[in-house]
Symmetry: C2
Subunit: 336 residues, 2 copies
Amino acid sequence: MSKRIGNQTVSLSVPPKISSRAAIVGPKEGKGPLGLYFDYIFEEELWGEKSWEKAESKLVKEIFSLLERKMEKSLGEINYLLAGDLMNQCLASNFGLRESNIPVFGVFGACSTMAETMGLGAMLVDGGFADNVACLTSSHFCTAEKQFRYPLELGNQRTPSAQWTVTGGGGVILSNKGAGIEIQTVTTGKIVDMGIKDANNMGAAMAPAAADTICAHFMDTGFPVEKYDLIITGDLGSIGNEICGELLRENGIDTNGRLNDCGLLIYDLDDQDVHSGGSGCGCSASVVAAYILREMEKGTYKNVLFAGTGALLNQLSVQQGETIPCISHVVSLNTK
Amino acid sequence: MSKRIGNQTVSLSVPPKISSRAAIVGPKEGKGPLGLYFDYIFEEELWGEKSWEKAESKLVKEIFSLLERKMEKSLGEINYLLAGDLMNQCLASNFGLRESNIPVFGVFGACSTMAETMGLGAMLVDGGFADNVACLTSSHFCTAEKQFRYPLELGNQRTPSAQWTVTGGGGVILSNKGAGIEIQTVTTGKIVDMGIKDANNMGAAMAPAAADTICAHFMDTGFPVEKYDLIITGDLGSIGNEICGELLRENGIDTNGRLNDCGLLIYDLDDQDVHSGGSGCGCSASVVAAYILREMEKGTYKNVLFAGTGALLNQLSVQQGETIPCISHVVSLNTK
């Protein structure tokens, strides 16, 4: 029986519930406006490890450990882990989960990874392939700067349009039983490349991809925009957020104050010197897992549309003068 | 309704059919023993592009174009693309598919990527989320050597245990209608790290992961080893193939001549100077899509167990003295 509605969306017949959520962040993120929401804040970027890479792997390991501990035992076993990250060959996820003893699907969607794992995970649960799946991702300012840009020791200046990679991560467990916030629809993104080449302005590059999949969601489902109390992208930053709002309006979707971005929420943009806001897989992962879902539990929001956004570039593609292909995956988070 | 059998395996209720398959390889692979099976062989590693990276992206694009053209139009639309590759941030897949205008799930399983996309894709079709999904991957000797090892211009010597990254790729389309070879079970791998640190002996590192998931398949399903005419790993090479056979025997699975490896089939190991055999995402992808499935169509094999194997390392993890975590994903290919 087909669960497809429209070109890019599936409607889940038994919507998976979010049965556990966890987020851990680094010192800068802990000092930001959402500090009180995170499960744990570590005090320096190395977190007691010998390298930033090992610190990011530890982050993944500890998030998964928290997720497991916070899940009700009566829900049964975790059947799959879905994880990926920004490091070359998704190192943080693969090293962080190597002792898990649970089947792993590695995914890569750059900063859209959290939404991608939640979309795929929801389908695996709804399809009867799993009782519980864990979806998680991470990023680390130092591993990302070193890999994508310049050695940190250089102290390079950043352009005003640049975003700050979040040191942190988050995850959820999706279950076929229990109560809680559920995922009712999954709208999967196409790759969108509008010809932008500036790797220091990824918000502008990603905004068209976000608008594309959000539009597809409303077109496929026929839902009015008012269904959602919040449409949260992750992570466009201030420039991308503005462009995304404009593109949605041009397509007849007036978000009317409902549109926000994880990269704008995690830092105090006036005081924390992060220019356009936060970015990195761990930004939307930690903001959604710690803050958005908590506010939904409290009743602040009833229905939220989460659009993860990723820039599918690498260091070589920038050096070779290529444009930046982007993607956005959308999942709906619903209070029953 | 749960489709789970055992800890790591799912049994598909309406097994997806392989409705299209395509493989393209480079010059060295074209001169190998399977040369006649591939859809297209390009004559030099750059394939008319300005960089090896662009050549690998072109490879992905052309494989997808072939897959689309070879699929029967009556089967309907392709709903999802599942793809990933070895390049940092899966560049070849993301650039190669950026004009596809089809929703994309990026996956990363190193050289197990082909089996991973087929496993996930089969579940998306069987679960009613898609009518057709395309699963594809690639690798390129020059992009891989440059990224993981040394500049090619150095002409470094290779150790006898090293494998040769295949320039090539392949893919399949899985469909909920039509006739043809089907995927009946998917056994998803756990990460296995036996402490091997030698990045020039990846076959030895990956063999325990392959044996682990193959054992899980037989334990979960209760099938006798005789059900399969061939158990094909991809890509362990000669050293890994031997270790895998031994590990299976120790676990009570006597493959009795049934165990072979894509990395041993694609090159002439005596004449083509590839040391332990082929490797890279494109090795098992092209060998399975072009050769294994063709031989199944001809009736040479009735049932084949395909175990994709991946080494989840990156250049930094080797430099930091880390061991090599590995994974293997298993799908069964069955003639109805």
